[in-house]
């Protein structure tokens, strides 16, 4: 088997990005999606279908349904969703840093020069996040009644 040309990084020789490692995921996702579709339609084809008026009603514990199901709901769900976005994007920012910052074989010169600076920047990032978090707490986003 022939190996691809390594790329030269400050840490040493590393293998280049290899798309073929992702092929099994592609194959697997096709199989999985096929499995769900076949199961859904298979049971839909085989199963008996006797439509009666009662079966077609929304299930409401035996009562006749009152009103539509799609009513207004608590605004807190929106607030939680917005706050989730803030924290999830924060996570996505932190992952690259977590991978690169302290891995073994990182460039010593670079670390000596910029390591502490990056660490301080991350602390600032956390501090700004904490401000947002305290703001949301004081505004009562987490207070469910």
């Amino acid at each position: 088997m022939s190996l691809p040309e390594p790329i030269i990084t400050p840490a040493g020789l590393e293998a280049p990005f290899d798309l073929s490692t992702y092929y099994p995921i592609l194959i697997y996702s096709v199989i999985v999606i096929g499995f769900s579709v076949v199961t859904l339609f298979g049971s839909w084809l085989i199963s008996p279908g006797k439509r009666t008026a009662v079966k077609m009603m929304p299930y409401e514990s035996g009562m006749d349904p009152i009103g539509d199901a799609r009513q207004r709901f608590d605004v807190k769900f929106y607030l939680i969703a917005i706050l989730f976005l803030v924290f999830d994007v924060e996570l996505l920012f932190l992952y690259p840093w977590a991978v690169v910052a302290y891995r073994e074989g990182a460039d010593a010169l670079w670390k000596a020069e910029f390591g502490r600076l990056v660490f301080c920047e991350i602390l600032v990032f956390f501090a700004s996040l904490a401000v947002a978090y305290v703001y949301a707490w004081r505004k009562g986003v987490f207070a469910w009644r």
């Binding site: 088997m1 022939s2 390594p6 990084t9 840490a11 040493g12 020789l13 590393e14 293998a15 990005f17 290899d18 073929s20 490692t21 092929y23 099994p24 995921i25 194959i27 697997y28 999985v32 999606i33 499995f35 769900s36 199961t39 859904l40 049971s43 839909w44 085989i46 199963s47 279908g49 006797k50 077609m56 009603m57 929304p58 299930y59 199901a69 799609r70 709901f73 769900f77 939680i80 969703a81 706050l83 989730f84 999830d88 996570l91 932190l94 992952y95 977590a98 991978v99 690169v100 910052a101 302290y102 073994e104 074989g105 660490f119 991350i122 978090y133 707490w137 207070a143 469910w144 009644r145």
Partner: protein, 403 residues
């Protein structure tokens, strides 16, 4: 390197994983029923086949042949899409999770000869003891994290398209719960990534084989991850989305037949995936000091057995906890996620970053975890545990009890 039509070994592993997971899910349902019967002093399923061992088969056939009711008021496209999404995302998430022996990716090397040798050895080893569908994925954990996040679509689509009040409330609760607990889950895993310096799960296992399991050095992250995993699986005590007593079936109230079966499959597959994930991230994967190690078929089987034992332990934990702890109230659920787990997880990440920045021993993280728990305990004592008690609705005076 190899083309997409040459992935024969991937096809074999996919077949093994799919077959294994589907069989395991069927028998986990039986195991769950046995355990619940045992814990409630009942007998449990014992009629179909010897000791009820053919029960999953009967259940499967029944589900496949039951009438597939599509009520008139549903949004048909999303109604059909939702169970498919739920099952497909749950199954897809296992693609990068190793279930046996793993080969860590070679670290960056100084000269070309060493590079060639290391990577040739890596490819040889992957070809023989491959226990993961897609080995050598750089983004590893991030892939699983992303795909399990998609599961919330299955739930919210199912709840919305059913046009049923129970489904709607269940879906709302569930989506709020899933997105809330995803953050501490991700932050807890982040502290492991900080230590291992890679998102690749094989490398994380390799790091733990070399330096000891993460659970010993980061018990707090382990606990946070475990609780987050419970919530992500909608298992008791976090099963508010389908709280039977109040919401009938939650988001799958209107689903019958195999569509319901696919939701069920998704839930149990999630259990398997998260159990494997906890084992890989915190319990060293296949590693058991003094027992596993070396190469060859015997070592391979031993590694597989050790990881399966860890998987089984967490599955049993799921089931025992289901019948031990009562369900949370919704405000308690949100309190736990936002006021307790997210601050603790963030502080934990910062603590790990400090330990790594100053190059202290890994055991400093154990002390750090203990310190954080102590700080939290002091905070709770000062706060008088106020928020966990029933919230006061009216600050002036309470309504009389029993109104």
């Amino acid at each position: 390197m190899s083309a997409i039509w040459e992935q024969y070994s991937a096809l074999i592993v996919i077949g093994v994983v799919m077959g294994g997971v589907l069989t395991a899910v069927a028998y986990l349902v039986l195991l769950e029923r046995w355990i619940s019967a045992w814990m409630q002093d009942r007998i449990g399923p014992n009629r179909v086949g010897p000791m009820g061992l053919l029960q999953p088969l009967a259940d499967g056939i029944k589900m496949f042949l039951k009438e597939d009711i599509v009520p008139e008021h549903v949004d048909r496209v999303f109604y059909f899409l939702a169970p498919g999404v739920a099952a497909a995302t749950a199954l897809l998430a296992i693609a990068v999770v190793p279930f046996g022996a793993t080969v860590p990716l070679p670290a960056p090397l100084a000269d070309l000869a060493a590079y060639n040798q290391a990577w040739q050895l890596y490819h040889q080893q992957v070809a023989t003891d491959r226990c993961v569908i897609a080995p050598g994925i750089d983004i590893g954990f991030l892939f699983t994290f992303a795909v399990t996040s998609l599961a919330v679509y299955g739930i919210i689509l199912g709840g919305w398209s059913s046009n049923n009040k129970y489904s709607m409330i269940g879906a709302l609760r569930s989506s709020a719960q899933l997105i809330s607990y995803e953050i501490p889950l991700g932050l807890a895993a982040l502290s492991v990534v900080l230590v291992a310096g890679s998102l690749n799960l094989e490398t994380i296992v390799g790091d733990q084989v070399a330096h000891g399991w993460n659970i010993w050095t980061q018990p707090l992250a382990f606990l946070l991850f475990l609780i987050g995993a419970f919530a992500e699986c909608n298992r008791l005590p976090f099963d508010l989305p389908e709280a039977e007593q109040e919401l009938v079936g939650g988001y799958h109230t209107e689903y019958s037949s195999m569509k319901f079966g696919l939701f069920f499959l998704g839930e149990y597959t999630h259990m398997i995936t998260t159990s494997l994930m906890v084992s890989v991230l915190f319990l060293g994967g296949w590693d058991l000091p003094g027992v596993t190690g070396g190469t060859g078929w015997l070592a391979w089987g031993l590694k597989l057995a050790v990881l399966m034992a860890k998987l089984g332990f967490f599955i049993l934990l799921y089931m025992v906890i289901r019948w031990t702890i009562p369900r949370f109230r919704f405000d308690q659920l949100m309190h736990l996620a936002w006021k307790l787990m997210i601050p603790l997880a963030t502080a934990n990440v910062m603590m790990v970053a400090v330990v790594r920045e100053f190059g202290w021993s890994r055991w400093a993280m154990l002390a750090g975890s203990a310190g954080l728990v102590a700080v939290w305990a002091v905070f709770e004592v000062i706060n008088g545990n106020r928020a966990i008690n029933m919230p006061v609705r009216n600050k002036v005076g309470r309504e009389p009890v029993g109104v």
